[in-house]
């Protein structure tokens, strides 16, 4: 009783100090000691019990957190950062918050936690009861199970602990403000249990025996104890070791009480590095004497005393009752510490995720609740939850009885806590994980766990038919809870852990991959995975919400009380430097701000539900979505799609640019063409107009010769215009390939000779020589005579145009090479620059050669030529160099 009073005093004193702003618990050593709430009655009594049968295997659950300290450090640090940022109050809150603040998920996790942890609390009750009985010189399990519960010491232990936990854990409402008194008391208890255990260990080792050497030497001679030294004979396989180490690693972060102490009650992540070595050191110290005590007990009692109570029985037998009492206080500390924190953590989950949402749903926002207010009620709900937890634990303890040792029951809880691992760890490192994945993973893992561990133990205790344990569910051999799917040869824990985690993990992953996360899950996923980007920043919400100031204030008043509401609103005003006095509508970030505070009191899911009642969501605008996408750099899947789209866009852009370039070129060519055509038409029209006017005006003065000369010009110029128009029309026909061809056998020699003869006059005018050697051989092809003559005329006119006056030479040749007939028209004119040689066969292209302002012709000649040649299945090409003439070469198949 004195001891309990001392604990209360510590808690009260620390809380008072904290109120004055001088925090005692913000200290890495206190933090590390409070983490030692991990060491429960299980450690204190159970480890010795386990050591008597399993040798060193009791160490596995302590090796986990020690060996894997770096991994633990990483996980814990991230969890703390996330939780502080999101104002998370429990492991259920953590998971629910990660997967879109889902209230269903929170309920599921709460159910798993409560179900999973109840056996754990029950062993604390049993250990304390056993301790009392040993001290009272009764048989450890006295108070018999057949009797009425009010004759059972365990019932009163449960009741006492419930009161203890209620008083400690629910002194204040907001778990965000942390329970400094509680932490201090826990740390103190950790110290007490360590010292107590060390005292017993030293007593056994140095007082009963002469130190470690003597003790181990004697144990080595004893047949019953010698097998405890080796790994193999302990019956624990390497796989079981591995499983235990993993389970304990998960337990150290995922057990609700560990989450509460290490994450929720953490004052600053800076304490973690020190805790990383202080805490394992603590574990080492408290375990040093486990084996000696176990060996001594086994040798001295020879199986007549329950191994779980050796730490008490040994001092009693050796005549040191004061030490036995001190040890009991140590064990009591271990048990109460665990129960208080665990019950507090579970009650937070239970009330926030199950009871409060139920109340809110059933009452809505009716006037009645507004009047009564929730803040007092919440504390009652918490207290009620704690009581419920311990009653359940008591019932379980009564049901199972003493059929299992402490450690076995504890490990059942560890395995349950481990079911949360995929959802939690996956949630912190894998953005793609979805709400549905977490939900199905947890459910399947939990069901496998329940089927493999607690159900068989209930069956063995005779509460439910035992048949399925022996023969499998529905008599199916594959569904034996200790040998699922025919997997035998493992101990029950390893077996259950293996199957439940395997199925849990795979379901989680597969369902996640095959479902789409909703918007809120995506945002939350991004915050959880990339928490470092959000530390210190305002947390933002993708939903832009609006609410009436009046409604918001009402909600806050109801759950936080008027004073706290006032303080919170003032805090918001000062940080944002605005006044809310005249605001009718609450801005979106104030709602978020209020939500995080409200979440501290009633959990994220409930807070969301409450605010949903008073807010209306605005559809988010496209550019906000874009901003969010940008900011979250969302999902690899998305960015893959974007990359593909981007590549497609790039290709399209290139194509468009090319097409645009072509269009521009065409456009320019067309403009040039029109200019050229216009010029080409204007020039003869000018001559015709002016000359006809002259003839008209001066007909009396002109002689016969002049008149006929002028009339000839008019005829020529009119022909010129007709030719031009025909060419333009030809182009149009070539374009649509409708130019009529009439093929016949023709001799190319004749085709070449005819235009040369016809153009003699033109050559002579410019004093140009045109050479053509008539081949002796016939050059027959299938062709259209007129069209081919047009080709020849075009080539000759070009040559003529570019040849220099007086010195021009045009060489035409026709020769047969194998199956080809090659026609060459070569001039010694100005030539064509290499860069233009490709273009000249295009429509509208004209060569404006250096120093020449005037293009010769319409720019259509070579285009038409080429088209005609192609219609004869021939080809045309040019060889030329600027200043060295040009040579056109037409090839036909003979």
């Amino acid at each position: 009783m004195l001891y309990i009073a001392l604990l209360f005093y510590i808690a009260w004193w620390v809380d008072k100090r904290a109120d004055r702003g001088a925090s005692v618990v913000s200290n890495p050593y206190i933090y590390a000691l409070s983490l030692a709430v991990y060491c429960t009655a299980w450690t204190f009594f159970g480890s010795v019990g386990r050591a008597t049968s399993g040798g060193l295997s009791f160490l596995a659950v302590y090796l986990g957190p020690s060996l894997l300290a770096p991994l633990w450090y990483m996980l814990l640090r991230k969890m703390i950062l996330i939780s502080k940022n999101q104002r998370i109050t429990s492991i259920a809150d953590f998971i629910s918050s990660r997967y879109g603040k889902s209230s269903n998920l929170a309920i599921l996790v709460t159910v798993i936690a409560v179900t999973g942890i109840v056996p754990y609390i029950s062993i604390q009750l049993r250990a304390v009861t056993q301790g009392i009985n040993v001290l009272a010189n009764l048989s450890p399990n006295a108070g018999n199970l057949e009797g009425y519960f009010w004759k059972d010491a365990a019932f009163y232990v449960a009741l006492a602990m419930a009161i203890f936990a209620a008083v400690f854990g629910t002194r204040k409402l907001d778990p965000n403000e942390r329970h400094e008194g509680l932490v201090a008391a826990i740390a103190f208890e950790s110290l007490v249990k360590l010292l107590a255990f060390l005292a017993v260990g030293i007593f056994v080792t140095y007082s009963i025996y002469d130190g470690f050497g003597d003790l181990f030497a004697q144990a080595a001679l004893n047949e019953a104890t010698v097998k405890l030294f080796s790994f193999q004979s302990s019956g624990v396989t390497p796989f079981a070791w591995f499983v235990l180490i993993m389970l304990s690693l998960f337990a150290i972060i995922l057990l609700p009480r560990q989450f509460h102490i290490s994450v929720v009650e953490n004052t600053t992540p800076r304490h973690i590095p020190k805790a990383m070595w202080v805490f394992p050191l603590y574990l080492l110290l408290i375990n040093i004497f486990v084996l000696p005590v176990a060996l001594a007990g086994k040798m001295l009692f020879d199986g007549s005393v329950l191994p779980d109570t050796y730490v008490l029985s040994l001092p009693l037998k050796m005549g040191a009752p004061w030490l036995a009492l001190a040890t009991f206080i140590g064990g009591f500390s271990a048990a109460t510490g665990m129960v208080v924190v665990e019950a507090t953590a579970l009650s937070i989950m239970f009330s926030n995720h199950i009871l409060v949402p139920l109340l809110i749903r059933s009452r809505g926002t009716s006037n009645e609740t507004k009047k009564t207010g929730f803040s007092d009620r919440l504390l009652d709900i918490r207290r009620f939850s704690i009581l419920l937890m311990l009653l359940l634990a008591y019932l379980y303890q009564r049901a199972i009885g003493a059929s299992h040792d402490l450690v076995s029951v504890g490990l059942i809880s560890f395995t349950a806590a481990a079911q949360l691992a995929p959802a939690v760890i996956g949630g912190m490192y894998w953005k793609r994980a979805t709400h549905q994945g977490a939900m199905t993973g947890l459910i399947t893992g939990f069901l496998v766990w329940a089927f493999c561990l607690p159900l068989p133990s209930l069956a063995q205790a005779g509460l439910i038919p035992n048949d399925f344990v022996q023969n499998g569910l529905f008599g199916i051999g594959f569904l034996k809870p200790y040998a699922l799917f025919g997997l035998e040869g493992m101990d029950a824990i390893s077996h259950a852990a293996f199957w439940s985690l395997l199925i849990n993990g795979w379901t989680y992953a597969i369902v996640s991959i095959n479902t789409q996360p909703n918007m809120l899950t995506l945002t939350q996923a991004n915050i959880f995975v990339n928490i470092q980007n959000y530390i210190g920043g305002q947390d933002w919400d993708i939903l832009k919400r609006e609410a009436k100031m009046f409604d918001l204030r009402n909600v806050l008043n109801r759950f936080l009380g008027e004073n706290r509401t006032q303080i919170i609103l003032q805090e918001y005003e000062t940080t944002n430097n605005i006044s809310l006095k005249n605001e009718k509508n609450a801005p979106s970030d104030l709602i978020n701000f209020a939500e995080t505070h409200l979440a501290g009191a009633i959990g994220a899911a409930s807070a969301r539900l409450m605010l949903d009642n008073v807010t209306k969501e605005e559809a988010i605008t496209l550019d906000e979505v874009m901003r969010i996408l940008e900011q979250t750099k969302e999902a690899v899947a998305h960015s893959h799609i974007m990359e593909t789209k981007n590549a497609e866009l790039n290709t399209l852009t290139t194509q468009l640019t090319d097409a645009n370039e072509q269009l521009k070129t065409l456009d320019r060519l067309k403009a040039d063409f029109i200019t050229t055509i216009t010029h080409e038409i204007r020039t003869p029209v000018t001559s015709i107009r002016s000359l006809s006017k002259i003839i008209l005006d001066y007909r009396n003065e002109l002689d016969e010769k002049q008149i006929s000369e002028y009339l000839q010009v008019l005829v020529n110029e009119s022909n010129r215009i007709s030719r031009l128009i025909n060419q333009v029309l030809d182009i149009e026909k070539l374009q649509s390939e409708t130019m009529p061809y009439s093929f016949e056998k023709i001799d190319l020699r004749e085709i070449v000779q005819t235009p040369i003869a016809g153009m003699q006059q033109l050559f002579a005018e410019k004093n140009i020589r045109c050479e053509f050697k008539w081949p002796s051989e016939e050059m027959l092809i299938d062709g259209d005579r007129d069209k081919l003559i047009q080709v020849m005329v075009n080539l000759l006119s070009n040559a003529l145009k570019f040849c220099p006056l007086n010195e021009g030479i045009i060489a035409v040749s026709l020769q047969k090479e194998q199956n080809f007939i090659i026609l060459k028209v070569k001039d010694n004119g100005i030539g064509i620059p290499k860069s233009r040689q490709k273009d000249i066969f295009e429509k509208f292209t004209q060569i404006n050669s250096v120093g020449q302002g005037k293009p010769y012709g319409t720019g259509l000649g070579l285009f038409i030529t080429k088209k005609i040649v192609e219609q004869h299945k021939g080809s045309i090409r040019v060889e030329s160099e600027l200043g060295k003439g040009a040579s056109f070469e037409v090839t036909f198949s003979a």
Partner: protein, 125 residues
Amino acid sequence: MENHSKILIVDDEPNIILVLEFLLEKQGYQVKKAFDGLHALEILVDFTPDVIVLDVMMPNMDGFETASAIRKIPELEATTIVFLTAKGTETDRRQGYNTGAEYYMIKPFDNDVFLSTISEILAYG
């Protein structure tokens, strides 16, 4: 109808030359003709006309280049340059004035309008 004003016509189209020469000689002007810009500059070495009628699109040296070259010759400062061309866009016209021409006429032209322009130039500079 004697007139001693001197006029140079520059065009690569023989038929245009034919027309211009006929019209101007009928007015009694002293006319010389060139087939392109280079040919014109050759003639201008020892011939100082009052008016030069200049086509634009010609081989070897176009009308714009020719006008610029002419404006660099101090002896021809008093000579009026008249473009007579089928290039009728506003851009062409501006370029024509920029090279130093005083008049810009577009083909096809009305014989009488052309002649009255020339006589105006000769009367008032």
